[in-house]
């Protein structure tokens, strides 16, 4: 059953609704973007996703309902075991009514993702543009670069209304991350540019930071490589960094 109209869409329901149909035996890797919603229904049903080592059509795992041709994707139910939703998306909108699996919005360039539940690790990894909002909590590695890559988030905005795990905005080069709750360790490690705001408490902040700004509302631990200034800290001195860590006013 399709749900209430999406906020901001004037009550017109034109979208693709998906719901898990089975209890997954292993997790699903579904590299789906809102563009799929604009495709013919048959094509949508046959769209292939990875189910362990099998490639299966979407309809084998999900109930799908299509209403209109707009690029809006609504995921209903528990998607916590579905990964890579919104990977590299450029436009359109994804609304997740429950929890979402890892890598949601990775490499995202534009458009909007709303998660009404919790998100797993790698939310908005290496994101370049667009917007992600999570009502619940997120796992680790928010907006981080994948292993070995030199640049993290480059643009766009991520808002998490709950808490976030460890590693946030590593090697960040632009864009904004806001965590309304608490965060874990290693915020803005090797950050080069952009802005991170943590409203609650967090652990280590700013290790090897070269630039950018971090604002924190609660308690935190700045690494012992920052110089105290009138309104916060500047560092990391070990990389001749000019990053700023300040208390959130």
């Amino acid at each position: 059953m399709a749900s209430k109209p999406v906020a901001g869409y004037g009550g017109v329901i034109i979208l693709l609704v998906m719901k898990p149909r089975v209890d997954f035996e292993v997790n699903v890797e579904a590299e789906i973007t809102p563009e799929l919603a604009a495709k013919p229904f048959e094509e949508i049903k046959q769209f292939k996703v990875y189910y362990g080592n099998r490639l299966v059509p979407l309809e084998e795992l999900f109930e799908i309902e299509k209403k209109g041709d707009d690029e809006i994707l609504i995921l209903e139910g528990d998607f916590s075991r579905v990964k890579w939703i919104g990977k590299s998306m450029e436009k359109g909108e994804v609304v997740i009514k429950g929890d979402i699996g890892a890598h949601c919005g990775a490499f995202m360039k534009g458009g909007k993702i709303t998660v009404e539940g919790n998100a797993d690790d790698w939310l908005g990894a290496e994101m370049e543009g667009g917007e992600i909002a999570v009502r619940g909590n997120t796992g680790n590695l928010v907006a981080c670069p994948y292993w070995g890559n030199l640049k993290g988030m480059k643009g766009g905005r991520i808002t998490v209304y709950g808490n976030a795990g460890n590693y946030i905005g590593e090697k960040m080069c632009g864009g904004e991350i806001e965590i309304r709750g608490d965060a874990g360790d290693f915020v803005g490690t090797e950050m080069k540019d952009g802005k991170i705001t943590i409203h609650g408490n967090c652990g280590y902040v700013g290790g090897d930071m070269k630039g950018g700004e971090i604002f924190i509302g609660g308690s935190f631990e700045v690494v012992p490589a920052f110089i105290k200034t009138d309104d916060g800290f500047i560092g990391d001195v070990n990389v001749k960094g000019k990053g700023k860590v300040k208390a959130l006013k």
């Binding site: 997954f24 362990g52 890892a102 590695l141 070995g148 360790d185 290693f186 690494v223 012992p224 490589a225």
Partner: protein
């Protein structure tokens, strides 16, 4: 058998003399490993004794039908068997993971960030005038390390204990700390901050260091930095105290950065104190066959590396594998509760010489020959130096290699490739 290799810890001492099961030169840990232990008598499927061929047939059936089988263990077998394990995972579209993922995986992640300025154990023996043990306790975990390689070793240029400055950094006064010239007790979870503080001091930014970091006063830290910089050739050994602490991979990475800094002033290398005798081989073989060291998923036919999802523990907790092949390891005894719960839900195949907790939950149990006594092959010591473990006792048991070879042949035949 002379010059045999002890197949217990990452030291891989290669001067063991065997006379039956009694080994000369073994330390107590090695002795315990080689003392006669209970063996799995024969292949078992669902409680019934069967032949090796039948057990392998049944195992293969489970594995090819799985959507993502997990292949885990490998750190206590030889490279030849590990190689087949990696290829088997590839052909099955499953996961290859090995014991590193629960011990020194943070070292791999740190290497991915910054590299590893390392060297052989012989460098500690022959050249080091400063030896640091950070979060490791060789006296208890690698008993012959101090005498063979580090603290007391008589080297080419550094002739013995009196020429070495030995420093121990740990959260409590360990047995190794009693061998040290200096002992620094730190607060748990503050290694990362201490590395940054030492870097700040060496880089001339004392002003960035508060009066106390992680329970160590700034004065003490300055003294420590001084000792480090004044060494001619230093070796920093680190262990699970660092890789299992808060922010483990970033902590190791920060240690690497400290060593990079030290190399701008003098010479330093670091060396992880690896546990199992071939955990390095289990990483290396996978790297040349598949490009990564652990947490490798082949579900798409080629290798992908996602340590946040495809380590054995994560794959189990995330319910992302639906069968498991466990080789020379005991995850049921060592994994977190939620991971073990998942293990009990899925079909488990075990290959091991000895029964252990995992045997109790395994559907198929295949006994194997004892590596280094009944089966030969190549292993890598903690510093990656390859050694050949020997076979000097005949046995009816199949080796890991033979078991995996038949499995792989059958899988290839079934898949029609």
């Amino acid at each position: 058998m002379r010059n045999a290799i002890c197949t217990f810890c990452g030291n891989a001492c290669d001067d063991i003399e065997f006379d039956g099961f009694v080994g000369k030169n073994l330390c107590p840990l090695g002795e315990a490993k080689f003392s006669a232990k209970q063996r799995i008598e024969g292949p078992v499927v669902n409680g019934e004794r069967v032949s090796y061929e039948e057990a392998i047939d049944r195992a293969v059936e489970i594995l090819v039908n799985a959507k993502r089988p997990l292949l885990y263990g490998f750190a206590s077998t030889v490279n030849e068997a590990i190689r087949l394990g990696v290829i088997l995972a590839e052909k099955l579209g499953g996961i290859y993971d090995q014991c590193s993922s629960v011990c020194h995986a943070p070292s791999t992640l740190a290497m991915i960030e910054e590299g590893i300025p390392g060297g052989t154990l012989g460098q500690a023996k022959n050249r080091a005038d400063v030896v640091v043990f950070w979060g490791c306790n060789p006296v208890e975990a690698h008993p012959r390390h101090p005498s063979r390689y580090s603290v007391m070793a008589k080297g080419f240029l550094t002739k013995g204990r009196q020429y070495r400055h030995v420093i121990v950094v740990d959260v409590r006064k360990t047995a190794t700390a009693y061998l040290a010239t200096e002992f620094y007790q730190v607060k748990p979870g503050y290694d990362y901050a201490i590395f940054s503080a030492l870097r700040s001091i060496i880089n001339g930014h004392e002003d960035a260091v508060p009066d106390e970091v992680g329970g160590v006063s700034r004065e003490k830290l300055k003294e420590f930095a001084d000792i480090l910089v004044n060494g001619k050739y230093g070796v920093i050994f680190y262990g699970l105290g660092l890789t299992h602490t808060r922010g483990s991979d970033r902590s190791v990475e920060n240690l690497v950065k400290l060593v990079q800094t030290l190399n701008r002033h003098t010479r330093y290398i670091i060396q992880p104190m690896r546990g199992h005798f071939n955990v390095v081989g289990a990483s290396a073989v996978a790297a040349w066959e598949a490009g990564y060291e652990y947490a490798i998923d082949f579900s798409r036919g080629h290798s992908r590396f996602f340590p946040s999802e495809f380590t054995a523990v994560e794959a189990l907790i995330r319910r992302d594998c639906d069968a498991a092949l466990i080789i020379a390891s005991d995850p049921a005894a060592h994994f977190p509760k939620r991971a073990v719960e998942r293990l009990t839900e899925i079909p488990v195949i075990q290959i091991d010489p000895h029964p252990n907790i995992t045997t109790l939950i395994a559907d198929i149990v295949i006994p194997s020959a004892l590596v280094g006594i009944e089966a030969e092959g190549t292993i890598y010591r903690m510093d990656g130096i390859p050694l050949r473990v020997k076979k000097f006792k005949e046995t009816e048991y199949w080796s890991d290699y033979e078991i995996l070879k038949l499995m792989l042949d059958k899988v290839i035949r079934l898949k029609g490739e």
